[in-house]
Amino acid sequence: MSVDSAGASRRSFLSNLMAGSLFMWLAGVVAAVAAYLFPPDEARSSLGPQRVRVGPTDEIRLGEGKLTLVEEEPVWVVHLTRGFVALSAWCTHQGCVIKWDGQKRLFQCPCHEGRFDESGNVVAGLPLRPLTRFRVGEVDGAVYVSRLNHDV
């Protein structure tokens, strides 16, 4: 039947189109779910204790310190006789980045008169609070630093 043959081609075209649409939607949903399931490129925020590698243990000599970043906060990692110590490098007065003086065993703020001892306690100047402490540990010959109390 002529009608039938024209109808047949139309029907098969529509069938294909229908199948194609269904497949498109299915593929879209699967792709969306897959994209969701694979973790984001970089963990921009984090939950739970996250450690930051500072460097090999022998990189920081006794009496010296290294400035590192933990979630964009600068942190001083200092090698003392009693071990490693990690303190926030933000002066508790107005937030300037303090500097470690290995000779005097003091942190000095370049902005005003803030001075802190090697445990972060205020020794001189306008700051009232001691420096924020961080946890520090040695794993596999490298020094790691993490926040003291990650209470989100």
Partner: protein, 464 residues
């Protein structure tokens, strides 16, 4: 001599002052003052001791003290119960709360006989009674103990106040006969004396400006000396006043910090740097690196006062570059250009960081975790804050380095915020695409269904 044991005990507890510090040029004269006649302080070795018959007075003393005990005098009263309070109860209450009552009785300063409440006996000049000391005599009277290291040792108190006072404006004018100036009791109180650590003491840190203000904010009184009377008011609204009263910073200065407490004197222009620099040492170091050091030494400007006022000290804003610098530097000089450069660098970097902060706040409703950018921006704030003291060195390069770092950080943060907002706008594009796909699919499905229906009609209606 049963009272000898008592006297020897007292002597052991309260040794005599060394001979050169003993006062007393005679009795009864008001200009020269009497040695202290309190039995607690008078010892057996002191010359001129009036031997009195203590047995009768001791009996009366016991009776009186028993009576006083029965009247429930609280434990903070003087160690020996005194009869003065019988006629002067108000004063006794006042005195009892003060710190002197722990160690001294009334007669330590006023003289007289504390064991009797008979007014003539109590107020007997023979017992050393001087009544109310004259204003001019007060510093020396207080100094008999407070300038005596032997006496003050056990309390760990300094003994230089009297010496300092004598060098001060108040002390010198008092020596010239002006009794309108401050003496010890004006600041410390007369009977109700509290140590500076007690919050209600007139010499507690928060209260010092009010205490000084009792005279120095009195316009009529200050007019006599041709002094202004607005310092206290100015101080209240200054940076230091805000730090002291509002922020309650334990290191904020009071009047005494800059002017001295007992040796109060207005700092001379040349010594301002020592006064301000005592706390602001870092800023002073930066200042010393710059060309203004030579100008200050040559007396062409004051080290701190030229830009920062003294009682109403405030953070100068950017307009100081336009108003203060031109007062010495003409607009076409290199110095003026430096000033304008500094102004631009500082204000631009501050604005950049502040804008980035606002944008983070605004984006918080769109992106709840945008606050993760704050620590990065804090680094920018740190550079801006460091530039403020560094600018005193007038080193444009150094300030420029700091402000440039601040601005690059703020640009980076703003870029991140804009990126997030951009991503969110992209969602509308996806929505449009989705609707196109939906409508397309709906059309296809509809056409497919109609085709199947038509097919069924052609082939005959059947329930299949």
């Amino acid at each position: 001599m049963r009272s000898l044991g008592l006297r020897i005990g007292i002597a052991a507890a309260y040794p005599a002052p060394p001979p050169d510090q003993r006062g007393g040029k005679g009795k009864g004269a008001r200009a020269a003052f009497q040695p202290l006649s309190d039995p607690l302080l008078r010892t057996a070795e002191e010359p001129g001791t009036v031997r009195r018959d203590n047995s009768a007075s001791a009996k009366r003393f016991c009776t009186i003290s028993l009576l006083a005990a029965l009247l429930a005098v609280p434990a903070r009263a003087a160690q020996v119960q005194e009869a003065c309070g019988t006629c002067h109860p108000g004063v006794k209450t006042e005195y009892r709360d003060g710190i002197h009552s722990q160690a001294l009785g009334c007669t330590a300063c006023h003289g007289g006989d504390p064991t009797t409440d008979d007014i003539e006996a109590a107020h007997a000049p023979a017992k050393g009674y001087i009544g109310k000391p004259g204003r001019a005599d007060i510093p020396a009277l207080c100094g008999t103990c407070h300038a005596d290291a032997n006496r003050m040792n056990r309390f760990s108190l300094p003994t230089d106040q009297y010496a300092q006072y004598q060098t001060s404006v108040h002390g010198r004018r008092l020596a010239e006969g002006d009794t309108h100036v401050a003496v010890c009791t004006d600041c410390h109180g007369t009977h109700h004396i509290l140590p500076a650590r007690e919050p209600t003491s007139p010499v507690a840190r928060r209260n010092i400006s009010t205490t000084c203000g009792r005279c120095h904010a009195d316009a009529a009184l200050m007019a006599e000396y041709k002094l202004p009377a607005d310092q206290v008011e100015k101080f209240r609204h200054s940076v230091h006043g805000i730090a002291l009263f509002d922020e309650e910073h334990p290191l904020a200065p009071t009047c005494a910090t800059c002017h001295g407490a007992h040796g109060a004197i207005a700092p001379a222009v040349g010594s301002i740097r020592d006064v301000c620099g005592h706390c602001h040492g870092r800023t002073r170091e930066y200042f010393n690196e710059g060309p203004h050091r030579a100008a200050a030494d040559a007396g062409k400007m004051s080290e701190c006062l030229s830009c920062h006022a003294y009682h109403d000290t405030a953070h100068p804003d950017a307009t100081v570059f336009d108003t203060t610098c031109p007062s010495c530097h003409a607009p076409d000089t290199a110095a003026f250009a430096t000033a304008q450069q500094l102004k631009t660098l500082l204000s631009q970097s501050q604005d950049a960081v502040a804008t980035a902060d606002d944008e983070i706040a605004r984006a918080a409703s769109v992106s709840p975790t945008i606050a993760r950018l704050r620590p990065r921006l804090q680094q920018g704030w740190a550079y801006v804050t460091e530039a403020l003291p560094v600018q005193h060195s007038l080193n444009v390069d150094r300030v420029g380095d700091l402000t440039r770092s601040a601005r690059s950080i703020s640009d980076e943060v703003r870029g991140a915020v804009h990126g997030v907002e951009e991503e969110n706008r992209l969602r509308y594009l996806w929505l449009a695409i989705a609707w196109v796909a939906i409508l397309f699919t709906v059309g296809v499905t509809y056409a497919y269904r109609r085709e199947r229906q038509r097919q069924r009609r052609v082939l005959g209606i059947r329930n299949s």
